[in-house]
Amino acid sequence: MKNVTLLEIRNYFKENLKIIIFAGIFGIIASFIFCIFTPKLYEASFTLSLGRINALKINNSVDNRLDKEIPFVLDAQRSFKNPAWISSDILEKCGYTPSNKARKDLISAINVIRSPDNKELLLTLRIPGRENTKNCAEAVIGESLLTYNARLDQVLREILGDTPSMKASDFALKLSGLNGGLSISDSYVYPSFTKIIFGFSALLIVISLYIKSILMQINLRVKKSK
């Protein structure tokens, strides 16, 4: 491999100017087409705090042996990846035509992170259309909280059924709820025109130049072998 000098770098760019320009223009055009035809995704983010159930002793101090979040945080996190959980009503509010494909698409648009203390879930939702995103997030929040608090009620009834000496008022309950507000993005978050144009064009230029250098080396070896 020979040494590279500044003059050679300059000559290299001069010799490959056409490739650079064509690859760059092609990259820009491809990026424009991609950005125009890709649906504009808006983003909703919200935090759900999970319900908790504690048992109170008779003298009103909290007995933490029963302290648990309802539902269990892993179950809650995983449920958002279950397409069967998505009802037709939610799909319609999210702007989808009810179908199993739409359920799977919506599931992949939802991202869930659980807090280290297992008490909260941070959800982000990215789908096309600002109104759809807002309505969808509200529908998901409503459905989730309904499900969680119904589960909390069911668990409480089971405990009461097993321990007849206790009453519902002996339990401290914290219902699942929305922690803070619902945040909707001001504008679409994907695709980002400038980043995609830069990225596509730059990568295309680099790849084109690399392919050209490989082809030249192959050509050289073929000539040498002849």
């Binding site: 000098t5 500044l6 807090s115 941070l122 978050v189 980002s192 830069f198 990225g199 730059a202 680099v206």
Partner: protein, 383 residues
Amino acid sequence: MNYLDSLISDYKKNPKIPLIFVFCSAILYTFLNVYQLPVFFIPDILIFIFSIWAIININQRLSKLFIISLCLIIYFLSFSPEKLDIEFNNKFYITIKPLIYLLLLYFISDIKIEFNIKKITYSILILYPLMLIWSITFYYFNNGGTFLTRPYFIFENNFEIPLILSCFIIVAFIYRDKDIRIFFLVSLAVFLTGSRSGLIGFGLVAIPYLLSIGKKGFIFTFSLFLIVVGYLVYVRGLSAFNFSSIDRIQTLRGMFAYFNNDFWEILKHPFGVGIYKKIPIFFCAPLGPWAEWFTGSFFNCDPLLFQSYFTRSIFQLGIYVTFFVPFAFYWELRRVMGAVLPLLILAPVIAVSLSAGGFSNGLSFIGIIFCLLAYNQTKRLQT
């Protein structure tokens, strides 16, 4: 007469220049400290100016691996997932600096510039402990007699230590000057900084040094090393060396918790979460006051809060890129310097990467540039 003696004799003949230099350095430190001026950009400006000069004079083989670096930079800038719309922007240029430095390294690794840095490296080794002493003295008189356990010159001392250790590597292993006084100056510098990662880097570099000097020298220098360790334990406290209570370990655990404490989950994110995403508030809450100091907002959880290059990069760039960077640095330096010397040169940078910027630190990269300059000049003189 070795170079240090000749330098001291030059300074004695002409004491004005070193005195003015020390005096100006002390004034600079005081001025920056009093007015709290930003200095973070200075090393990068110096690297930028030097790189322009080096590329203009380039005359070396160019490794094809630079394409990987270039493609990674393009990917992270253009295709990293976006943060939440409601969140503040990250200081992502710091995150991609290791890849930029790597790209520059490919163009300057076999540098042909004639620039004598012998005087600079020796002067840095002599000046830096003096500046640390000045820092302690200045703080003492300005803060009601409080002793400063983490003195520094211009930048935080975790950023300055790799440069000092690079200068030591140049003197001891490239110029092959095993003068014990140099080791003493470096020990004093590490001693005064009170840096744990600096101690690790110093230990890694001291081992081959200790093995290359005679028995008497070994006893003296090993004792110095133990004194440095003892002082650090004293000034930082034993709890600072308790593995589980080290803040960098806790942030590593916090980062790991993001991936559900599952190593396979980290492997499944080949390019991490990207350079734009924030640390979710759940994982950032323990870092809250630090977030407020660093970014101005309790809720602005920039992944730079992870501090350590390894923790931050595994989160943002992915585990493969995180370990690709040191490997690529080593592979390029190995092409020029052989297999062993690059390990020594990178040891302090890797050690500091456990605690601070490391490969994204401009001063560390300046240290690597110094090593390249010194090596290539020494090689040319020998041929």
